[in-house]
């Protein structure tokens, strides 16, 4: 079973590989997430349903962890996202993720950042 730091390192590794299907497996079935752009999410199926939007909405998504702080089952990460929406419009932002990891799975996650740099993602029409 991975410890808290290993789970968090794997989280960023698979995100930067663009492996969103593997990313979902890092979360507990009863995951609770407070996502700055998507809002309050509960349950692995809800999260799995959001993956399609991530795959379609970003043509590039690099999330570099700048600082990883771990204390027991809790971790916080300062990150820098270098991304682009489906049409290639760039997105550049810094922010923070908060994680609670229990039994080798992420049971809670929240992120905090300015939503304005993500307008090329949130305002695009993917239909």
């Amino acid at each position: 079973m991975m410890n808290t730091r290993e789970v968090i390192e794997t989280y960023f590794y698979v995100v930067n590989m663009g492996n969103w299907d593997k990313w979902v497996t890092l979360f507990d079935d009863d995951i609770v997430m407070d996502e700055q752009l998507a809002g309050h999410l509960e349950g692995i199926e809800t999260l799995r349903g959001a993956v399609d939007g991530l795959k379609k909405g970003y043509s590039k998504f690099i999330n570099r962890p700048l600082e990883v702080l771990v204390e027991g089952e809790k971790a916080m990460v300062l990150w820098h996202i270098d991304a682009a929406n489906a049409k290639g419009v760039p997105i550049d932002a810094k922010g923070v993720n908060f994680f609670i990891v229990r039994n080798g799975k992420i049971s809670y996650m929240a992120n905090f950042h300015d939503s304005v740099p993500f307008k090329p993602f949130t305002d695009q029409n993917l239909s």
Binding site: E71, V96, F112
Partner: protein, 121 residues
């Protein structure tokens, strides 16, 4: 004070309005990046409080979570404030801290600016 005590004192002094004690938690050469507004040095950081007080006469910042790792700490916090026009502002965000020699040498704050823009419309 250890790192956790410094961070807890940061929020205690912030919410009690003990601004000189709050400013003394920072190193003389500290840098604060508050949502991309940069203050360099303890005096500039102390003066930045005046700007907050003028814009938000009622201002509290509640500590919700803290993670300490070595000489660094990060927190989840929740601002609860009121503008001069009486508009409520609630914003959950995060702070990152670096501590050296018992003082905060670097701090960065992350919130969604949309909450602030909406409150000041």
């Amino acid at each position: 004070m250890n790192v956790r005590e410094i961070i807890e004192a940061y929020f205690t002094f912030l919410n009690s309005g003990e601004w000189d004690k709050w400013a003394d938690l920072f190193d003389n050469n500290a840098i604060v990046d508050d949502m991309s507004n940069i203050s360099k040095g303890k005096e500039a950081i102390r003066k930045s409080v005046d700007t907050i007080q003028q814009a938000l006469p009622k201002f509290k910042n509640h500590l919700r979570e803290i993670v300490v790792d070595g000489n660094k700490a990060m927190v989840v916090c929740e601002i609860e404030a009121t503008t001069r026009k009486g508009t409520s502002l609630i914003s959950k965000g995060a702070n990152y801290y670096e501590i050296k020699g018992g003082k905060i040498t670097y701090m960065a704050s992350f919130h969604d600016s949309a909450h602030f823009t909406k409150a000041f419309q």
